[in-house]
């Protein structure tokens, strides 16, 4: 092959690659797939860097997946000019993030902590892994990684096929769910319609998911799988819970000592999931004790009729329409809590 023909191969390659990528992109769009942002460490670190905004313009949210689904950014923005910085992580205990914020002398702002008891009061390392990885990435990220993030943001906003969780080669292979030997842990895979992520780190389930019983049942089965795993684990000794309360109180005291304000929120769950949570984590022993020991206000969805009636499609997270209603009511309640009353004067329409 001579020099000219290698050039020819390069040109044909270019045509094939562009053709296949664009064809695939069009196919996915035709299937109703929407833009999704990779919720990995770079996106989390981008949000983590935003916590230093003016304390009356920035509310930081930490927690697990529920607050990501339940806090609707669009509704929030219509109610206030204060920026919601979403640092919650799916399937993750938020305590490492709380500790990170507590140990950051520059963080003096307003913090909302979403409590999903099974994760918040968990000490198993796998539930801290994502949080620790994200925190490490935030502190270690290089200038090159920041530039890559900006380019990636641009590409992800244009191409729906860029979806690492569901459309990468590995995700496609994992979705085959090839049976493994007995005893091998296989991470269950969520349906794509259940987990979409915006650039502001709001998660949402699509309308297709809400009406698709099979997919809803698939996710319910996943919750059942994790519940079974949790029940088979040895029970945590009371001393371990005491240590958790102590460490949370110590972290919150540090934030308060710098002038920060903290509110806890228990976001909705429903059906057997809620029953299981009430049995495993009785309110008086966990939620009430958390508020009492930390001396922080709290918003429990069961205490407010406007929030208590939600029926979660897969028992644990709100659909988008309900997230809007929840956000509206949550904002109203939050803006009455000590340290957050300034929110009443931040309505964009009034300003």
């Amino acid at each position: 092959m001579n020099e000219k023909s290698l050039f020819k191969s390069a040109m044909v390659t270019l045509v094939i690659v562009v053709g296949v990528v664009l064809g695939y992109e069009l196919y996915l769009r035709n299937q109703g797939v929407s833009v999704d942002y990779d919720d990995g460490p770079p996106l989390w670190a981008d949000k983590r860097a935003q916590i230093y905004g003016p304390t009356d313009k920035t509310i930081v949210f930490i927690g697990s997946s529920r607050i990501k689904y339940d806090l609707d950014r669009g509704t929030w923005r219509r109610l206030t000019t204060a920026e919601p910085v979403q640092l919650a992580m799916e399937g993750t205990c938020p305590r490492p993030v709380l500790t990170d914020l507590a140990n950051d002398p520059n963080f003096k702002g307003k913090l909302v902590i979403d409590v999903t008891e099974g994760l918040f009061f968990n000490m198993a390392p796998p539930f801290m892994e994502t949080a620790n990885e994200n925190i490490k990435y935030y502190y270690d990220r290089t200038p090159a990684q920041r530039v890559s993030f900006e380019i990636n943001k641009l590409l992800e906003s244009k191409f729906v096929f860029l979806d690492k969780d569901f459309l990468s080669t590995n995700a496609r292979l994992e979705a085959l769910q090839i049976p493994s030997r007995p005893g091998v842990f296989m991470m269950p895979t969520f349906p794509m319609n259940f987990k979409r992520n915006t650039f502001g780190r709001q998660a949402y389930m699509t309308d297709r998911f809400v009406v698709n019983e099979a997919e809803r049942n698939q996710v319910k089965a996943i919750w059942g799988f994790f519940a079974k795993m949790a029940m088979s684990a040895p029970p945590m000794p009371p001393a371990a819970f005491d240590a958790i309360f102590k460490s949370v109180k110590a972290d919150i005291d540090k934030i308060k000592a710098r002038g920060g304000q903290v509110v806890f929120v228990r976001t909705p769950s429903s059906g057997v999931y809620l029953q299981g949570e009430n049995m495993g984590f009785p309110r008086e022993k966990f939620w009430n004790r958390l508020l009492a020991e930390t001396q922080c206000p709290g918003i429990h969805f069961m205490d407010y009729p406007a929030m208590a009636h939600f029926d979660c499609p897969e028992l644990s997270h709100l659909k988008k329409a309900d997230a809007k209603l929840f956000t509206k009511e949550f904002f109203r309640l939050l803006s009455q809590k000590p340290g957050f009353t300034f929110l009443q004067n931040t309505n964009p329409k009034k300003l």
């Binding site: 290698l6 020819k8 191969s9 890559s148 990468s168 080669t169 005893g183």
Partner: protein, 478 residues
């Protein structure tokens, strides 16, 4: 900056554009130097000072070494250079390791010493650019080559971004002459370079990161005893990962340089088709092996001072070569094991009077040759256990599981993970065996343009759909 990142794609397009503008050669070299500093600073800007220090000191010391006639002053200059280069390497790379060992020694003799734990960050690629500058000053001391005349050329030789962070480790005569006359890639070089860059990224992004790294991590991070199958699959996965990661980087580096009109030395030559361990080291990390041969093995006596000295030089070279890879005794054990393999092989070859692996294939059938290559590969896998494990305890547990002496019964790896390794590793072995006496570009130029287009498209599409950009290369930590 890593090759497998969007930042690099933009950076590379800008550099290619600037390099092909009708500017003077000096301006183009300044552009390349500035780009190289940006490439390095994009990781951690302050460490660029180390790079400058190393460059400036070695440029002037090298010049003085070459012209100095007084042997005492000459030795003094060499010592200054060695202390400067190795001192920096020792502090950043081995500081914590040395302190830990000193503390252990203190405890052993009953002295209770608890120093504060130092928080030393390892500058990326320090082992590589230290060896690059070190060989220059040693060459000047021995007058093996002429000193580089211009500071610009020397800085570019040390800093040229394709080789800066993880090699290939270049010698002055390989690269400096290329900076002396204007260079722009021909169309052939550009196409060859782009093909190599694609291949390197495929090896790194698709195979190493996407297909093998998780399996290797899962097995090497396991706390419980593993079944024999899981242990072997994990070690095979790492064996593939380390090759694809590092050879992928080298292939990218060579491709990137070629796109700019520069030729870097080959760093890998299908090492898993090696027949025996001396052949393996002629094929694995070739520029490091030849560096260690010329600047360590031969000065230690090489093979010219009797057999005992040869065996000693061989072992010392492998032990220090192991330590170069990382500040941990497990790396020394890895090097030591390779040293033992080389001893056994040398002893066997001396007895049978075999000169090179080609002799084995010529004398026997291809199947026998393949058997020897497979045997070599399997023994190399045993050494990777020490290379990847961070403690001897973990290495021992894994070796016990591999041997079946103390294997556990709790299966760890999914069928998918096993399948990935079971497909990729035999393909690598087959590919290495078929390609062992040729080069990828020769094959690319031989096959029809239609086939090349299809293969090239597959590589590119696999990279795009893997969606794995951004992870750093394993050898950055060395």
């Amino acid at each position: 900056m890593v090759f497998n990142s969007y930042t690099f794609v933009v950076f590379f397009i800008v550099i290619l554009f600037l390099h092909n503008l009708p500017l003077s050669w000096r301006v183009k070299k300044i552009n390349l130097l500035a780009a190289s500093y940006i490439f390095y600073a994009a990781w951690n800007p302050p460490f660029i000072l180390l790079l400058w220090l190393s460059t400036v000191v070695d440029f002037f010391v090298g010049k003085a070494l070459y012209t100095q006639e007084n042997p005492h002053k000459k030795k003094l200059l060499l010592v200054i250079s060695l202390i400067g280069n190795l001192g920096m390497l020792c502090f950043f790379k081995y500081g914590t390791f040395l302190l830990d060992n000193f503390v252990s020694l203190c405890h052993l003799v009953g002295f209770n010493f608890h120093p504060a734990t130092p928080n030393i960050i390892l500058p990326a690629g320090i082992s590589f650019y230290t060896f690059t500058t070190l060989c220059y000053t040693i060459d000047m001391y021995k007058k093996r080559s002429e000193p580089v005349k211009s500071m610009l050329d020397f800085s570019l030789f040390v800093t040229f971004f394709p080789h800066l962070v993880a090699g290939p480790i270049v010698r002055p005569p390989q690269l400096v002459p290329q900076f002396e006359s204007p260079r722009v890639a021909s169309r052939k070089q550009m196409m060859d370079g782009l093909l190599l860059l694609t291949l390197g990224l495929f090896m790194k992004v698709v195979l190493a990161d996407s297909m093998l790294s998780d399996t290797a991590d899962t097995v090497f991070d396991a706390h419980d005893a593993l079944p024999m199958l899981d242990a072997w699959i994990g070690v095979f996965a790492f064996s593939g990962q380390i090759f694809l990661d590092f050879a992928g980087y080298s292939t990218c580096a060579i491709g990137v340089a070629l796109c700019l009109g520069f030729v870097l030395p080959q760093n890998f030559n299908y090492p898993y088709a090696a027949i025996g361990f001396s052949d393996f080291w002629r094929r694995w990390h070739i520029t490091l092996s030849s560096w260690l041969r010329d600047y360590l093995y031969i000065p230690l006596g090489g093979n010219r001072h009797g057999k005992t000295r040869t065996y000693f030089a061989l072992m010392m070279t492998m032990l220090l070569g192991g330590l170069w890879h990382g500040a941990n005794w497990t790396f020394v054990a890895w090097g030591g094991l390779h040293g033992i393999y080389l001893w056994v092989e040398k002893y066997y070859k001396d007895r049978k009077n075999i000169d090179n692996p080609k002799g084995i294939i010529d004398e026997n059938s291809q199947w026998v040759g393949f058997f020897y290559a497979f045997l070599t590969f399997m023994l190399v896998n045993v050494t990777w256990v020490f290379f990847r494990s961070d403690t001897f305890g973990k290495a021992w547990r894994l070796l016990c599981a591999m041997s079946g002496f103390a294997s556990g019964d709790k299966a760890l790896l999914t069928t998918l993970a096993i399948l990935k390794v079971a497909i990729i590793i035999p393909l690598i072995l087959l590919c290495h065996w078929v390609m062992r006496n040729t080069k990828v570009l020769d094959v690319a130029h031989k096959i029809s343009w239609v086939w090349l287009s299809l293969v090239w498209s597959f590589l590119l599409l696999a990279i795009i759909f893997a969606q794995e950009s951004g992870s750093s290369f394993i050898y950055f930590q060395f």
